[in-house]
Symmetry: C2
Subunit: 296 residues, 2 copies
């Protein structure tokens, strides 16, 4: 489509994937920032979590998730999962011919802009923290910044249990956050899509002087910039119809999803992901192996 | 093989699968009870956990895991995962032409034999508890027994974090176990392969009067009986060579595995399970759909 000012619009959807429903916190920000963009979301609820697993598995799953979104004709892919962003984004960028954004770089940039004392804390899953991705991105911006990383493996199950303000949650959080307090960070990156739901607990323990950075908010800005630069923005008049695909329909899905998206999730479809892999297998598997050969 | 007493031996391996490494607690008991039996273990570490997922997914994954073991020419399959036993065993028995044992029935029988006051507690994952399998099995033995079920979703991540005796673990455990104390159960089934590692914490909270039932011990007895009845026991002289397959190699695997098996795990191979599905896909998938049609 072209209008008189020769502005091109691209109404294809933005693809977003996550290991589960946590990525809906990123979707929420995308909807707010880019209300005319259509979103296709894939949550790999059958294989969740990614954050406790190996780099190889996280890369393989992320590539499969991307293939699924490409199959839905998306114009761009947002890796909403911190673990997948930390471990697989580089590889995805090398082999997929489509714009891609993760949540690490936007979160790191926001933390860098905010920090006064140059001490930044990062909390995330075991895999995200082991990858050192946040530290690397922050050091690219300023070598003098001290990054204090802390894995918090129990935060995700506690959020999924719904214990957002419980005594046990405070006890676990105080234990995880103690080294960050001792190191006097003035900025803390919530490096996992589940953690914004623990903002109250984390905020109370860290105190009002410490700024909590939610990568989702920053990522929506980045997505807008990428779409603008590459002339991929949708027609502002478009009324988007979002689609949500999950590899498993979790028990009480709507309840959990609303916790993350702060509204109900319409048009949810469960995908038989093994069947998808098997059906497209000969094609995707061959492509997958060729793709991997290119980079390893 | 036949000897003079026309005793037949069957030296094919026993297949054991679990959603991860927790099933090694069952393997430990099998090795103790049946030292000449060879074991092929499959741990679905790439898709762990099962206990938070839907019945449909647990059934599909369990069938795929079984296909993998059948591909290794096992003579029997032990479903070492409580969630898979609770949800998928019945289906597996209906469609696979091989002896199968889960961990639910043996655990239920042991609890029934032990209880004096006819009040039995069951703790497990959300999916195991929702399935009501333990209650059903216990009621088959004695309709008057009162079963008190309690899901404990945070126990698995706490064990995997290695917090086996921590303040936070006690706090979480006290909260979960309170209703069981109030209901004065005299027997408590540890309905998840991870829970025997929390025996100390659980035992201290429940008190010395409450017997903790570890399904792994009971399952090894059942396996021996099945093999004996069906003349499938291995030659007692056989020196077994166990094989362990995992769909992902978890970080610090040996450390975690030793926690469960109480010895090091040799001959561990990582399996690319998607590739297995895709390669055998046309065959297995067709069979899978035919198999499911038989029962639904």
């Amino acid at each position: 489509m072209q209008n008189g000012n020769s502005t091109k619009y691209d109404n294809r959807p933005i693809g977003v994937f996550d290991s589960g429903v946590g990525g809906l916190t990123v979707v929420k920000q995308l909807m707010k920032r880019l209300p005319s963009e259509q979103i296709v979301y894939f949550g790999d609820t059958a294989r969740i979590p990614y954050g406790t697993k190996s780099e190889e598995i996280v890369r393989r799953f992320s590539l499969e998730d991307s293939y699924f979104l490409l199959d839905k004709s998306v114009k761009m892919i947002v890796v909403a999962c911190n673990t997948a962003s930390a471990i697989a984004l580089q590889m995805l960028k090398q082999i997929l011919a489509i714009p891609l954004t993760g949540v690490i770089q936007p979160g790191a940039a926001a933390a860098y802009r905010n920090s006064r004392n140059k001490k930044i804390g990062v909390i995330g899953t075991a895999a995200t923290i082991r990858s050192n991705s946040y530290s690397r991105e922050i050091r690219l911006l300023d070598q003098e910044i001290r990054v204090v990383p802390q894995p918090c493996p129990l935060f995700v199950p506690m959020v999924e249990e719904g214990w957002l303000e419980d005594e046990a949650t405070y006890l676990v959080a105080r234990r995880y956050l103690q080294p960050l307090l001792e190191n006097q960070v003035d900025t803390l990156i919530l490096g996992c899509t589940h953690y914004p739901l623990l903002k109250n607990v984390i905020g109370k323990i860290m105190g009002p002087e410490v700024t909590l950075v939610d990568s989702g908010v920053e990522t929506a800005w980045t997505v807008e910039n990428v779409l603008r630069e590459q002339q991929l923005l949708a027609d502002p008049e478009q009324v988007p119809e979002h689609r949500f695909y999950l590899s498993d329909m979790p028990y009480k899905f709507q309840e959990i999803a609303e916790r993350f998206l702060e509204r109900s999730v319409p048009h949810v479809q469960t995908v038989n992901f093994e069947e998808f892999l098997v059906e497209k297998g000969s094609m995707f598997w061959k492509k997958y192996q060729e793709d991997l050969l290119k980079i390893y």
